[in-house]
Structure formats: structure tokens, C-alpha cells
Symmetry: C4
Subunit: 133 residues, 4 copies
């Protein structure tokens, strides 16, 4: 369904280069008992292009200057479901703390935000496509 004069890379480069998750919160507790069911907050990133995506995440807080950038690479034609729990360089993302995230890439990507909350005996899930700047 693509135009004949497009390159494969142009055809597959879906998305935008700037995304925002305004609601971030990692609960410190969890009842899941396994990594899959541990409370976590995830930025699900798709790089459908044929070039590596160099991604920078900046974390904003309510009462201090932003942290980051956190740098990561999403390989061509790959998805990366990055848990904020696992970001540690330049610093950990604090638990039980309101935050927001801006995600920038040098090639178009798509970002979806998901949280699994297992603080109580039943897990709760939320997900939304991030805001494309």
C-alpha cells in the first residue's frame, strides 16, 4: 500500500520523535511474587524503521529539577518494553513518587504507556498511547 518511490525505510518509519507520559508512579509494594507480576511502569517503544533509534528519556518531578537523560537504543524493526523500574543511569527512578517522562528519538517511534499495579491481591492494569509532541 506504499508509494513505489518511497524507500523501505521511509515506508516503515511510523510515529513521531517526541512523546510524553504525564502520569508516572511506581508503587513500592507488590504481591505478585514473580517479575511478571511485580508492580511496574513501562514505556513500550516500537521502532518500525530500518535504522537504530537513539532514545533519550527525561524524568520530571513535582519538587526538583528533571533527571536524565537516560539513553537507550531500540534496534531496527524491534520493540522495547522498557520498565522505568530498571532505569538506573544516571540515577534510579524513585518509588512512590509522582513523575512524568519526555521521550525523544532521532527516528520516528511509537510509545505506549502501561502500568501493572499488584499492591493488592488483585492486579490492576492501565495503558494509554503516549502524547505525541
Amino acid at each position: 500500500m506504499a508509494e513505489a518511490h518511497e524507500t523501505a525505510d521511509q515506508r516503515n518509519a511510523i510515529g513521531r520523535t517526541e512523546w510524553v507520559i504525564a502520569e508516572g508512579y511506581i508503587p513500592s509494594g507488590g504481591t505478585g511474587g514473580s517479575p511478571a507480576l511485580e508492580s511496574h511502569e513501562t514505556a513500550c517503544i516500537l521502532n518500525a524503521s530500518d535504522s537504530p533509534a537513539n532514545v533519550e528519556i527525561t524524568i520530571y518531578f513535582s519538587d526538583r529539577e528533571p533527571a536524565g537523560p537516560y539513553r537507550l537504543t531500540v534496534q531496527p524493526r524491534r520493540t522495547l518494553h522498557q520498565r522505568f523500574n530498571d532505569l538506573s543511569d544516571p540515577e534510579d527512578v524513585p518509588r512512590d513518587t509522582d513523575y512524568a517522562a519526555v521521550i525523544r528519538s532521532d527516528v520516528p517511534i511509537v510509545v505506549q504507556h502501561t502500568r501493572l499495579d499488584s499492591r493488592q491481591s488483585a492486579l490492576a492494569l492501565l495503558s494509554t498511547i503516549a502524547w505525541a509532541g
Copy 2:
């Protein structure tokens, strides 16, 4: 509310031809005990136009080349709630595995992404309108 010079098909052709679900994950377990309550991940597609929608789904992974395209048809003026669990040609969608999906159609459609998770005794639900490319 449509312009008089539009055809019925133009007036009803709502949506876009390229959609992205960046967060995909089918849990392998479930406590529901019935097909409706089995853990599942669904692409809900509306074809409000008067032509059949020929749809191609490509599945992206974190560590291998994409799978697909999976081909399906949504009849005119119909909705199709396609479970990723049920996609099998050219290959099954693996369980307990992060993935993302790009959905392309030859007529405008609308795609919403929903997951029901019944791994624990209480079910969890998420839904978001997919990203329109």
C-alpha cells in the same frame, strides 16, 4: 451532517489506514474458566465504509525479525474484534512475550486495543485507541 456531494462511501469512511499498538503481551495463564474470561489481547477494528477492508498485521518482537503479515478482511459496515491469541498464519503469536503490532488497511478503519488479564482471581482490563500513523 455530511456534504451533499459526498458519496455514501466517502461519508462513512472514518479513520486511517495505518495503526500501531506498541504494547502487546499475551499472558499464558488465566483463571477465567470460560473463553470470555480467558486472558486475551484484542485489536478491535471498525470498518464503517461501504467497501471491504483488506487488513495486514505485522508483529514486531524485541529479539527477532517481525512476523507476518497476517491477513484478514473486515466486511463493509462491520466491526471485527480480532484476538491476537487466535492469529496462526503464518505462525502463532507467542505467549509471555513482548510484542508490538502495525495494522495496515486499504480503506480507512479505526483500531482500539484491549487486553483482559485473568492471571489472578480478579480480572484486569486495559484499553486505548491505537496510534494512527
Copy 3:
């Protein structure tokens, strides 16, 4: 923050005139024991303008022609949280059945889609801004 030459009505007329909910499903069961906790699916509509919004909802199915239009009015500067469960003219919306909805208005509105599922002992919630055509 509005331009001085706008009328109050233009300034307040937020949104679009065509919206799509691609994922519809009303579970027939529920454990809530009260109307607030009964399983339901809702189109939350905001009419921030100073004119009444004449709204038409068309329901699409997987295996039959669409139903509707269902007609309703949202008064100026009012919100209406319309349960699909309560639509009955020209026909009830069937339970345990996949559907999708197109919502058209003669003035700009905003539509958000929410479902509360109380089939199991713990309720589940989903919500997403509808697709603006």
C-alpha cells in the same frame, strides 16, 4: 486566554463532530449489587459550547447491518455520561456481543469511552478518549 474577537460560543466549542469507539462489549453478568457497580459501558460526552448538541449514535456489529441512529441531546455547557446499556430506541444494545460505535454531533463535542466490568468479585475499569474522525 481566548482571542478578543471570538464569540463566547466559538471560544467554548471544544472538540470534534465525529467520534469512534471501536471496542464495545457489555457483559451480561455482574456482582456489584448496585447500579453504580453493575457492569456497564459508557460514552462520556462533553458539550462545552453554548448551543445544544444533537447527537446521533450508530452501532456496528460483526455479523449484521448497523443499528440506529440513536438520538440524544446534550444541553449547552453540560456533560452526559450515556450508558450503552440504557439505549433502547430503535432497539436494545445486545449483551455479550462485540460492537463498535460512531457518534456524530452538529456542534463540537468530546467523547471518552469507559467500561466497568463487575463479572468477577473485583471490578475492572477501562477508559480511553475516543477516536476523533
Copy 4:
């Protein structure tokens, strides 16, 4: 990744100045036993710019004129997760009542809408990026 001739403020000013949450509802009950697990409805606001964001929230109801504006400020490079439960000037937001919210700012912001519902023993979560007017 920004153009060299942009100022830092222009580069960081992500978002829009008008946002809508069409689905609002604060349950009066809750089983959480702690502020974090009390039923609440939140507008998560990110001000990534280098100027303070002066924000006005107007609350719309089904059967009366709107309330507000509620005024708040989000400092530069900060996020504010504002619970509707805590808005009190010019009046409290009523519980167990359908409402909608329009959020306007004098600098671009991003708004995400989240609800935690703890009326039953298991909590339920929803979240969606608000509608950008």
C-alpha cells in the same frame, strides 16, 4: 535534536494549551486504608517549559452550570498530579457525580487522566491521555 535557532524554552514547550477530560467520577467509598489507595481522580500535568504554567480548570456537570475556574500553577520543568478530590476553591467537587473537566493553560502542557477506584477489595485503575483541543 532541536533546531539550533530555537531557544531552550521553545524547544521544551511540549503540548497544548487546552485539554479535556470527558469522564469524571469520584467514588465516595474506598477500602484502601491509606491516602495512596483512597479512591481518587487525578489530572497529571506536565509543564516541560521554562515558564510557570497558569492553569484554569472548569468542571462541567449533567444538570447545573459549570463550576470554577479552579486556578493552580505548575512550576517550570515540573509535573503536578492534581487530585480532583482536593479541589476546594471555589467549591468542592461533589462525590458520586458525573462530571467533565476543561483544563486551560497559558503555556503548553500535557495532561493525562487517571482514576484509582478502591470501592471493592481489589483496586481498579484507568488512565488515558486527555483530549487536546
